[in-house]
């Protein structure tokens, strides 16, 4: 045993012998409920889920299911294209919303709406609007061009595109606001100094805004990717995974298997998202602990 270990063992025996102080009693008393809740509602369900997904056969079946392969692909498109696109738009828009004008203030209130309203009615109403026969969009197209509009949600790529657009529409306000707060933290003097130094708008973004915002931006990007993996509404309410189960993402696919009474496949689907989730969580934690 080295010195430190001896010292710690020594301390430990001392600690046992000593009576607990009132602070320590309170500390433990206040901590116990959290630990219990954590065990009951976090550790237990996760462990149970893994236990349900323990059958190796389930993974073989899963990987042989073309719907699963397609869902993995869709999920990657959703995360890599959708989320990046969303964050870039949010970054752009945040530059607009930092301006101090009264009408911009009011506009930003309107802009929050998609995020603030509940998903189910709004996404369903979008779905109805895109209905090929009686939806608002195609009726308009017919009235204007006398031709039938595209069969929006019956085309797998269009369907997925719309699901991504719905996702962006829904969560863009939130991320824009987060990035606005990041921009507001940058001193106006810096922009003025840069303007005097000869920087135009793009150079001001490149040399002032981006260096100050990049940490926040990338943290938001990772966080949004993690959350988007669990975004079930945008796909499920819009396309329901169709047509022909070609627009599923992992989150909706898990539900699909559940409804087919394939609990082990469902759990295996969730577990198979781990190779995507864990690195994201890892980078996230690493950034946050810096």
């Amino acid at each position: 045993m080295n010195d430190i270990a001896v010292y710690e063992a020594d301390l430990a025996t001392k600690r046992v012998r000593r009576r607990w102080s009132a602070w320590e009693v309170w500390g433990v008393a206040l901590l116990v409920p959290y630990v219990l809740v954590f065990l009951l509602f976090v550790i237990y369900p996760v462990a149970y889920g893994f236990w349900l997904a323990r059958d190796p056969q389930a993974y073989v079946a899963l990987f042989e299911d073309p719907i699963f392969v397609r869902a993995v692909f869709n999920t990657l498109v959703f995360i890599l294209v959708g989320v990046n696109l969303k964050m870039m738009i949010a970054l752009l828009l945040s530059g607009f919303f930092v301006h101090e004008r009264l009408w911009i203030r009011w506009l930003s209130v309107l802009f929050i709406l998609p995020w603030a309203v509940p998903s189910i009615p709004t996404i369903l109403s979008l779905r109805f609007m895109l209905n090929p026969e009686w939806g608002l969009v195609n009726q308009l197209i017919f009235r204007l061009t006398a031709e039938d509009g595209p069969n929006w949600l019956n085309d797998p790529s269009l369907g997925l595109t719309f699901a991504i657009l719905v996702h962006i529409w829904k969560s863009l306000p939130f991320w824009t606001l987060v990035l606005v707060s990041g921009r507001l933290a940058i001193s106006r003097d810096l922009y003025e100094a840069a303007a005097v130094d000869g920087a135009g708008r793009i150079q001001q973004f490149r040399f002032i805004t981006w260096p100050s915002m990049s940490t926040l931006y990338i943290t938001c990007l990772l966080l949004s990717m993690i959350w988007t993996l669990g975004d079930f509404n945008s796909v499920y309410l819009l396309t329901g995974g169709g047509p022909a189960d070609l627009t599923h993402v992992l989150a909706t696919l898990g539900i699909r298997y559940l409804r087919l009474d394939a609990v082990n496949l469902s759990m295996a689907t969730i577990v198979s998202a781990m190779p995507i989730v864990l690195p994201l969580v890892y980078f996230m934690m690493k950034r946050l602990s810096r």
Binding site: D189, L190, E192, A193, V196, D197, S212
Partner: protein, 352 residues
């Protein structure tokens, strides 16, 4: 280098007008200081010269060009901000090189210019540091370095020393003045500190509430203040101002104190006026007026004594080391040749 012409400039924020027609002509190579109490519009005027605020009315010319509608980067000016505004993600060298980099200067030229500026300002050892690793004084120097590297037509300073402690402020004051003598670049410098203005400026512009109260060389303002605002603002400790009326043989204060005037201004006998005398222009004299000592503040080289006669209070500054007790009576007399008289109504100087 260039001259700067500010002509009848006005500025409104919304409906509120903060500059009410300011005209200042600045010669090539001149060091002009805008001074005045906080909120009088000094920064606004400076920022209009820089192009950071637009010009509501009037005209600003730098060299031969009217710059009213010109963005800051085309005006060929450099500005030092009150809180320095150093780019936090760039090193000292990068901060200083930034403007040249934007203008796509050759790397070799950037390096020589940055190196020379760093030498002038004693920053050579700090070139690789980031602003957060520097002290206040060092940051201030980097901000100046950034301006020097540009080699602009005009330097603009907005209270560059107000975030420094007193000792550093005095040192930097001398340094900026020396820098100006060395580079000879036209400079407009804003401060609320009249001592800074007096010690550094070729010419001072005293402002109040969006108008210019007086312009002139530091000692001109000290010797011939146009009005009681300038009289009270320039000089430290501040000039004593006593209300009363002009009489045939001197000035009688409201408290009945009789004070000497060198020459009674024509037509002013019996009229109400203000009697101004600087603390350093009061002498101890046996035939002076008796006053009661209130407070004695010896600084070693001189002694500031606050005295009272009736309701009238006066500050007196003596070169000699005299230490009367509070409550004691001393006899003082203003030097009549250095007394100022102001119209009590218009608050303007009486020519006499």
């Amino acid at each position: 280098m260039a001259e700067v012409e500010i002509r009848e400039v006005r500025k409104s924020f919304g409906r509120l007008e903060v500059l009410h027609g300011v005209s200042i002509g600045i010669q090539d190579g001149e060091f002009v200081i805008l001074v005045g109490p906080s909120g009088c519009g000094k920064s606004t005027l400076l920022r209009m010269v820089a192009g950071l605020e637009d010009i509501t009315r009037g005209e600003i010319r730098i060299g031969t060009r009217v710059v009213n509608d010109m963005p800051p980067k085309e005006r060929d000016i450099a500005m030092v901000f009150q809180n320095y505004a150093l780019y936090p993600h760039m090193t000292v060298a990068e901060n200083m090189a930034f403007s040249m980099r934007l203008r796509r200067a050759r790397q070799a030229e950037i390096d020589t210019r940055v190196k020379r500026a760093a030498e002038i300002l004693g920053l050579s050892a700090l070139l690789d540091r980031h602003p957060r690793e520097l002290s206040g004084g060092q940051r201030q120097r980097v901000a100046m370095g950034r301006a020097i590297v540009r080699d602009p037509q005009v330097f603009l300073f907005d209270e560059p020393l107000s975030n420094l402690d007193a000792k550093l402020r005095v040192a930097m004051r001398a340094e900026i003045k020396e820098l100006h003598q060395r580079l000879g670049t036209t400079t407009i410098y804003v401060t609320h500190d009249q001592v800074e203005a007096m010690t550094m400026a070729d010419r001072i512009v005293v402002m109040r509430d969006g108008v210019v109260e007086q312009m002139g060389a530091p000692l001109e303002l000290y010797d011939q203040p146009d009005n009681i605002f300038v009289a009270g603002f320039i000089g430290s400790p501040a000039m004593n101002l006593l209300a009363g009326q002009v009489e045939a043989d001197g000035f009688r204060t409201e408290g009945g104190l009789k004070l000497p005037i060198e020459r009674v201004p024509a037509g002013w006998i019996g009229r109400r006026a203000l009697y101004g005398v600087r603390p350093e222009h009061i002498e101890l004299r046996d035939d002076g007026v008796p006053v009661e000592v209130l407070v004695v503040e010896p600084t070693g080289s001189e002694t500031l004594i606050m005295v009272r006669n009736g309701a009238a209070q006066l500050g007196c500054l003596f070169r000699s080391r005299i230490l009367p007790q509070p409550g004691e009576t001393i006899r003082i007399a203003p030097n009549p040749a250095l007394v100022h008289l102001f119209d009590a109504e218009t608050e303007r100087r009486l020519v006499h």
